[in-house]
């Protein structure tokens, strides 16, 4: 009994130190969510102005642009999956990967060939472990993405969409989908799929009011050239927005998971303490009964002599 008492005490101690770690991670995630939300708020003016400009050009200059043209018979699709770099965030990565599997199944049903792009080490590990081809993967920024990261991804995807202009057979992919986790609130984060390219202008968060009449802009040098510059940036800004949402979601998921882990550790400590107390009590009881038994035996032996 004494041995197991020591064992229980050791377990309580290790659970306590585990609890300290998960508690610290919970607090770190909580403080970072605030920063992530601030970043999302700070990025909003750029996205808003860009959306306004794009809708202004789309309204007044009827220009066709390769990035907005729907291909007639889409055969090839690209998919960008935004996952996290680190685990310990509950079901965060697996639910976004599951959503990407659903999208992949749907695209395959439509007879499209899929090329996969990934951000985050978790998604990369998932795909390489299953020997699935990944065209490109970016890692190392999932909890605080910068605009430059989004730009790099955006430039790659736009290039993949446009194909190689010098090669007539390479028309690039016909559509680009984006799978990321939407940050709805601290408690709810949902995996979400959007089609990034070809662009459907005027949608999403920063839609201008429908009663707002856009001014009659003069475009310099020309509507087409302004659009040429605007649209890739619009794509980058959409990707940046998705990365920011995903990072806030990741942190929220981690905070939730670590809170659950801390609570579980508390429960375990309580349970182990009870068992340890019981074991200690049982040990004492046994010792007493041994002494009493011994005394009785002595008394019996003495009585028998007399």
């Amino acid at each position: 009994m004494a041995v197991s008492l020591r064992e229980y005490r050791a377990r309580i101690k290790s659970t306590e130190s585990m609890k300290k770690i998960t508690r610290a991670m919970e607090l770190i995630a909580a403080s970072r969510i605030i920063k992530a939300q601030q970043r999302a708020r700070q990025a909003a003016p750029y996205a808003r102005e860009l959306t306004r400009s794009v809708s202004a050009v789309a309204t007044y200059a009827s220009v066709d642009h390769p990035l907005t043209t729907e291909p007639e018979d889409p055969k090839k699709a690209a998919m960008l999956v935004i996952t996290s770099d680190r685990g310990l965030a509950g079901a965060y990565s697996s639910s976004v990967i599951k959503e990407s599997e659903r999208l992949a199944a749907r695209l395959r049903d439509e007879g499209k060939e899929i090329s996969t792009y990934i951000t985050g080490r978790k998604g990369q590990a998932y795909f390489t472990f299953r020997d699935r081809p990944v065209v490109e993967a970016w890692t190392g920024f999932s909890d605080q993405p910068t605009y430059d990261d989004a730009k790099e991804i955006g430039d790659t995807l736009v290039a993949a969409f446009l194909g190689d202009p010098e090669d007539d057979d390479d028309h690039g992919v016909d559509e680009v989908h984006l799978v990321y986790t939407q940050f709805k609130s601290m408690l709810v984060q949902e995996p979400h799929t959007v089609r990034l390219l070809p662009l459907e202008v005027v949608e999403g968060e920063a839609k201008p009011e429908s009663d707002e009449v856009l001014p009659l802009y003069e475009f310099e040098p020309s509507g087409a050239e302004v659009l040429d510059e605007l649209l890739p940036r619009y794509v980058n800004s959409r990707i940046y927005f998705a990365l920011l949402q995903a990072s806030a979601s990741e942190l929220a998921a981690r905070q939730k998971a670590m809170k659950a882990a801390t609570d579980n550790a508390d429960e375990l400590i309580k349970k182990f303490t009870r068992i340890a107390n019981q074991a200690r009590q049982a040990g004492i009881t046994q010792e007493i009964s041994e002494i009493v038994g011994g005394v009785n035996a002595l008394a019996d032996a003495n009585a028998a002599k007399e």
Partner: protein, 129 residues
């Protein structure tokens, strides 16, 4: 209030400056453009360069910007660029170093060329201060 331009200088990841101004000078792909109150609605492509903003209290400041956009409508001016550095916050030695580093870059390397133009804009912004 209506006598002034409402200006927003926006980088991709933050709002750098917003306030009222009497005059703005920015560099577009067609050349420098000066904006005063009552300018016709304009949407133009901005190239790497220096933006000068004269604020209403007779002060003015400079900022180095990346390629981006300027949109003007109803005395509201938005300057959008992926990166914006206010002249007061630029590390001029670092910018000069970048100019040196990229000055003999391959003219076909568009990334290096735009990095060079960005660094030059930063140096110019500091020198004109």
């Amino acid at each position: 209030m209506a006598e002034l331009l409402q200006v927003e200088l926006v980088a991709a990841d933050r709002l750098v400056w917003s306030g009222e101004a009497t005059r703005i000078i920015a560099r577009t792909s067609e050349g420098d453009v000066g904006i005063l109150r009552g300018h016709a609605p304009l949407l133009s492509v901005m190239i790497e360069g220096v933006v000068e903003i004269d604020t209403n209290d007779d002060g003015s400041f400079l900022a180095a910007v990346d390629a981006g956009f300027i949109s003007v409508a109803n005395d509201r001016v938005s300057l959008l660029a992926e990166h914006v550095d206010l002249a007061d916050h630029i590390d001029v030695d670092e910018a000069r170093e970048a100019v040196r580093k990229y000055s003999d870059a391959d003219p076909d390397d568009t990334a290096a060329q735009s990095a060079l133009r960005r660094a030059e804009a930063r140096v110019r912004a500091v020198e004109r201060r």
